[in-house]
Point group: C2
């Protein structure tokens, strides 16, 4: 990982935005490593890199692992990259110890997952999973996704690289840092991901009337901020009626005119709610959608619009059970958990049996330069992934059920 | 007023920021009018213009009226200017009808009241009242108050203009639009101002920990926005325990990092509270100052700093009683009220018997291009001011008590 992370140079944190020069160098480095290891290298037109250790008996049955190569702005050293480099190490180790597998082992470095450059997420795994991707989008410099993509991918396709969209795998196992504090706080080695939370995101606009803070009597006010506060307080109170795993975040909040001595005429805020329980999420979402009925001041208007809707993704329970057994054999402590963040696995789960292995994040810090996982934890995750890929590709029965 | 307002040209609303070119032209125009009327013209080193109709018997006893010449950015046609032009018209009418008064009549056009260019308010009336003014301040272009002042005032001091800080008056009567909706809503002609509200303004900073909106369990969060909402909700609830005339405004609210899917790590908001009841204001102010005791999450820190403290100003009750009688004689409906906005009168009240006459503001709109008062209302205010100045300067007994 150090080689890839060194590509970001003197910048603060990792900055491998999709199709940027550091991203191109990282994918080129990965291709070079794949070729040195004698793996079959494929690149698709989105720039996702596939490194195959081709199977002896069932080359068309593919056991895949991997994660994404891109990062957020000023991201950490582990998010995404750990799953890519960990997957490559696992396959290299297996090749060295056991030679050619029965089924094909595939390392995947998805082009993009974070949505940090273009207003779209999971474009790499969506393209691989044959799901629609909107390409008519621009980055904040006005450069189109299609142009940036074509220019970057042209630099990956060289001699010895197959340029195609390869076949889908039977299974996908993603190794990742937790990005939250649960494993770290409870001193647990491994998190086995049962599901990825569903998400709903909304924008709420409260319109009142800007006015003089001194001369407008309280009863005559249409104070958008006071109403916004009342609505968020209501959402807080209602959230307590749900389980602790339903999260509520009001992350963005903008006021007009935003001056100490003027009553706010307009407030806009976001509501992000997530849960691994689909019923709970639907129920809480309805509360947000009906916020306009909470306010009774006729001078205030409230508009709610939803802009994200991601269903709860259940990951594969058989692969998880297999990972429990392997973790026990390896002497690792483990727990089941739901992922509060989105991952490529939620896309892959739509087309293949999919599972995730989490390792602890110190302090739960992620998407920041301070993101950190000790080497011992990284190695435990790698050991479990290696054992799982061995079972799946070298003759274990797991994937034949 | 139309001539002065035309100086702002094609801009939206009035923009006579102190010492700007439109402000200089306006004061020059006022000086020219004073000279045409044969008034004695004085300018002080802050650029306040004084036009005196010198008294016959008691020239050293000064009956003053006026208001400020500056405006907020994109202000209205009436705030300040109505009191300046109305005062000039009243004096011109009295001079024409009754000739020289017993006492000196003085029209004052204060240089600055709004605090819209430099971070200081009431600098014109404070300078006249011999109160300290901080001059080591800059506008948002980095130009210092002292330099801007000297350059502008140099353009007012010409032949026939006395350059000095003149003597303080016995009384000051300020004619002004209400800037609130009470007179308009209740269809009352005249507001007689008993007091000007006291103000306290605070900045509250809530510091938590920015974190991932999906992976951070609710119990592990140090969400600065949720705490800020709780504190403002608490302030709302507490405000209900006070009288309706205690106002609470949270006008400015800033969030970091202000992203939908990141838990806010820092929120800063302002609290503006006002009351004409000094005890009530002190009591509510203490609630704000003790906000840090409301929160119990040890991961959240709260800092409160106060940056404005204006005491309640009681205006002169004898002048108010005189105005009641005059309004009755003129057949105008009137009520007593407290001013929710600050005015030059709160400064002048510290050095002279001071009173204010309000006329209705349509819809209570002020500090905006839509600020409006019908001519009939403007003329009623002018008639009452004229009657009052006649009583005070031409032999009424009011000011001799």
């Amino acid at each position: 990982m150090a080689e890839i992370n060194a590509l970001s140079g003197e910048q603060s944190g990792q900055n491998r935005l999709v199709y940027s020069s550091t991203w191109i160098q990282a994918q080129q480095q990965l291709i070079a490593w794949g070729q040195q290891l004698g793996l079959r290298v494929t690149v698709d037109r989105y720039g996702t890199v596939y490194l195959d250790l081709v199977g002896r008996e069932f080359p068309g049955q593919i056991i895949a692992t991997g994660s994404h190569m891109d990062t957020v702005r000023q991201g950490g050293d582990y998010d995404g990259l750990y799953g890519v480099i960990g997957g490559l190490e696992a396959i290299a180790n297996l090749a060295k110890r056991f030679g050619q597998p029965k089924k094909t082992l595939r390392l995947i470095a998805f082009s993009e997952e974070e949505g940090s450059r273009f207003p779209a997420t999971f474009t790499g795994s969506k393209h691989y999973a044959r799901l629609p991707v909107t390409e008519t989008i621009n980055d904040d410099q006005g450069l189109s996704f299609a142009v940036a993509r074509a220019q970057a991918v042209a630099q990956l396709v060289k001699d010895g690289v197959v340029f195609e969209l390869p076949q889908l795998p039977e299974t996908f196992t993603e190794l990742h840092i937790e990005q939250g504090p649960r494993l770290f706080d409870q001193k647990i080695d491994i998190g086995l991901v049962e599901s990825i939370v569903g998400q709903k995101r909304y924008t709420v606009v409260v319109k009142g009337q800007a006015n003089h803070a001194g001369t407008t009597p309280m009863v005559d006010r249409a104070d958008a901020l006071q109403t916004a506060v009342m609505l968020i307080h209501y959402l807080q109170e209602q959230r307590r009626r749900f389980s602790e795993q339903l999260t509520l975040t009001v992350g963005a909040f903008a006021v007009l005119p935003n001056t100490a001595n003027v009553i706010p005429g307009r407030v806009q805020f976001t509501v992000d709610c997530r849960s691994s329980d689909a019923i709970e999420l639907t129920s809480y979402g309805r509360l947000v959608e009906n916020l306009a009925q909470v306010e009774t001041n006729p001078r205030i208007s409230i508009e709610i619009s939803q802009w994200t809707e991601t269903a709860v993704t259940e990951l594969d329970s058989m692969l998880l059970t297999e990972h429990q057994k392997l973790a026990d054999k390896l002497g690792f402590s483990w727990c089941k958990l739901a992922s509060g963040a989105g991952h490529d696995s939620q896309i892959m789960a739509q087309v293949a049996r999919t599972t995730m292995i989490f390792v602890p994040s110190v302090g739960g810090i992620s998407h920041a330069p301070a993101e950190y996982t000790p080497t011992a934890d990284l190695e435990r995750g790698l050991a479990l992934l290696t054992a799982s890929l061995y079972e799946q590709a070298y003759g274990g029965v797991t994937t034949n059920k």
